[in-house]
């Protein structure tokens, strides 16, 4: 009994103990992942080399890199859509290498909504595979359409929505499935600058509300810093480094103009420019 009391004193508060114990086990782990393609003749093309990444529960992580650095390949490997040449992908300590599943929900850059389904039917798409009853599906769909603010568009077809709205539906569809990790592949890459910022604000609010674990890839350094708690910089198929973002959890768009933000941006850009 006394030992227990001492333990509590040492760890300042019980909630923090809880936080630490949760953080001990990564939600998603990428272990020594490499991807090598056979090039012309006997040449081998190394796209990814010995990638190691850990994502803890409730984290928002961004992978930043220039186009052609292999970040999309990496995300596809993590999602299980592409097998790695070597290495493992683990979700909650279980190997899921090369096997896509509902534990890793994905939002793509292009519009992947099914045009023959209404917005509500799109959001319900994954739920039918879980054997959820129609009534429960409807509740789940309504809840997540509310979360993304599109409850009035439930019965519209995707072609009637704007680009930003389509991506919000795609996010709602991924979230409704309650994945362990939400993977995002440049989700706002095809949007105009204004819509993109609105969507970033929306995504951060959404993450604060739901505390879903997110791994997002982007080439937009500002977007990465604004959204993430940690950034991995990817270059030439390798992790060049990891940068913690020491900004307040709740962020307004104005933070992009603050000196701290600009300092981090400089740090990230310098790391991206480094040659190994």
């Amino acid at each position: 009994m006394q030992d227990y009391a001492i333990d509590q004193n040492e760890s300042q508060s019980s909630s923090e103990t809880h936080q630490v114990s949760l953080n001990c086990f990564p939600k998603l782990e990428v272990e020594n992942v490499s991807k090598v393609y056979a090039g012309k003749g006997k040449q081998l093309l190394t796209v990814l080399q010995d990638i190691n990444i850990k994502i803890f529960p409730r984290e928002f992580i961004c992978l930043v890199g220039t186009s052609g650095c292999g970040k999309s390949t990496l995300l596809n490997i993590i999602a299980g859509l592409l097998p790695p040449s070597t290495g493992e992908v683990l979700v909650d300590g279980q190997s899921v290498t090369g096997r896509p599943g509902s534990d890793r929900g994905m939002v793509f850059q292009g519009y992947t909504l099914y045009p023959w389904l209404t917005v509500a039917q799109n959001v319900a798409f994954g739920l039918q595979f879980q054997g959820m009853s129609k009534a429960d599906q409807k509740d789940q769909v309504n809840y997540f359409l509310n979360v993304v603010g599109l409850e009035n568009f439930a019965n519209n077809y995707p072609k009637q929505l704007s680009g930003g709205m389509k991506q919000r539906v795609a996010i709602a569809r991924a979230l409704a499935n309650e994945p362990a990790v939400l993977l995002m592949d440049e989700p706002f890459g095809a949007l105009d600058a204004q819509t993109k910022e609105q969507m970033q604000e929306f995504l951060l609010e959404l993450w604060e509300k739901t505390h879903v674990t997110v791994l997002m890839i982007t080439h937009d350094v500002e977007e990465a810093i604004y959204l993430a708690q940690r950034i991995y910089v990817l270059g030439l198929g390798q992790v060049k480094g990891e940068i913690p973002i020491r900004l307040p959890q709740h962020r307004e768009l104005d933070i992009k103009l603050s000196p701290e933000f600009v300092d981090i941006k400089r740090q990230v850009i310098n790391m991206m420019r480094q040659r190994h």
């Binding site: 999602a79 299980g80 793509f108 023959w116 595979f129 077809y157 995707p158 569809r173 991924a174 994945p179």
Partner: protein, 285 residues
């Protein structure tokens, strides 16, 4: 910091830019006046009809070779009123329908399989690709030897002529589905069977309807071939019978009747596909 830029060489100063000359008639994707468009549309139908009328009424070509448009029309009315042409229209339509349905029932699933699975692609594509270049008309004598001269052989000829195009076009439509649309289903826990049934089939549905619409014209080609060879009725039979009697007016009317039926079917299927797929982008022609 910068070196001063030297004066450009004289040949650059005299440089001529090239500009696009104005043109209305030959404009490429620059918009086209509606009035000119309407005039041209009318001309495209009226001009050949006028030439035909002039050539035939002035007997530049003897009437036995080229009857006047009015003569053809009145022959047609007579054929419907006295020669029971309806029965022939019905017989040909029934054959086209049967052959076409058979070609769709075989062609669509095989096309979906080839487009979806690499294994089926490797297994079936070489066969389909080879048989496609063998003329269907060449198979007709064989079909008659194997199946006989009755209805089944006619239906088989029509199906054989259409089915390969169905397969190839449906398989292509599947390959046009973006990878992401399939991958995102896997990340929501869908099985391969779910992907086939809930993504690939609905995604290709408008293209499948389009394929069938385009290929029904092929079915009309082959029904004529089938009926020319062996039949007691049908529009193709009427054509060959009229040829033996040197009735060019009847031949012309039957050909044009098939054209009108084809045009009508085309519009009907277009309308149907619009009704069935209100979600699709209506850019198809």
């Amino acid at each position: 910091m910068f070196e001063s830029i030297p004066n450009p060489p004289p040949e650059l100063i005299k440089r001529q830019y090239s500009y696009l000359p104005n043109s209305t008639f030959w404009s490429i994707r620059q918009g086209f006046p509606r009035q000119i468009s309407i005039v041209l549309i009318i001309m495209s139908l009226v001009l050949p009809l006028t030439v035909w009328t002039i050539v035939s009424t002035t007997e530049l070509v003897p009437a036995t070779f080229l009857p006047t448009p009015l003569a053809v029309l009145s022959t047609g009315i007579t054929m419907f009123a006295e020669n029971n042409l309806w029965a022939d229209v019905f017989a040909s339509c029934a054959r086209v329908l049967a052959g076409f349905v058979l070609a769709a029932v075989i062609g669509v699933p095989v096309g979906l399989a080839i487009g979806t699975f690499h294994s089926m692609d490797s297994l079936l594509s070489p066969l389909v690709g080879t048989v496609r270049y063998m003329p269907t008309t060449g198979f007709v004598p064989l079909i008659i030897i194997w199946v006989g001269l009755d209805e089944p052989s006619k239906i088989l000829i029509i199906s054989l002529g259409v089915v390969l195009y169905n397969i190839i076009m449906v398989a292509d439509a599947v390959k046009f589905i973006p990878n992401e649309m399939i991958n995102v289903a896997y990340t929501m826990g869908a099985s391969r069977w779910d992907v086939l049934g809930k993504v690939i089939i609905p995604a290709t549905f408008p293209s499948v309807l389009d394929t069938l619409r385009v290929n029904i014209s092929g079915a009309w080609n082959f029904v004529v071939i089938a009926e020319v060879l062996a039949a007691q009725n049908g529009l193709g039979f009427k054509i060959i019978q009229s040829q033996r009697l040197f009735r060019t007016d009847r031949v012309l009317f039957c050909i044009m009747l098939i054209g009108v039926i084809g045009l009508f079917l085309d519009y009907a299927l277009k309308w149907l596909s619009k009704k069935l797929t209100p979600w699709a982008d209506q850019v198809r022609h």
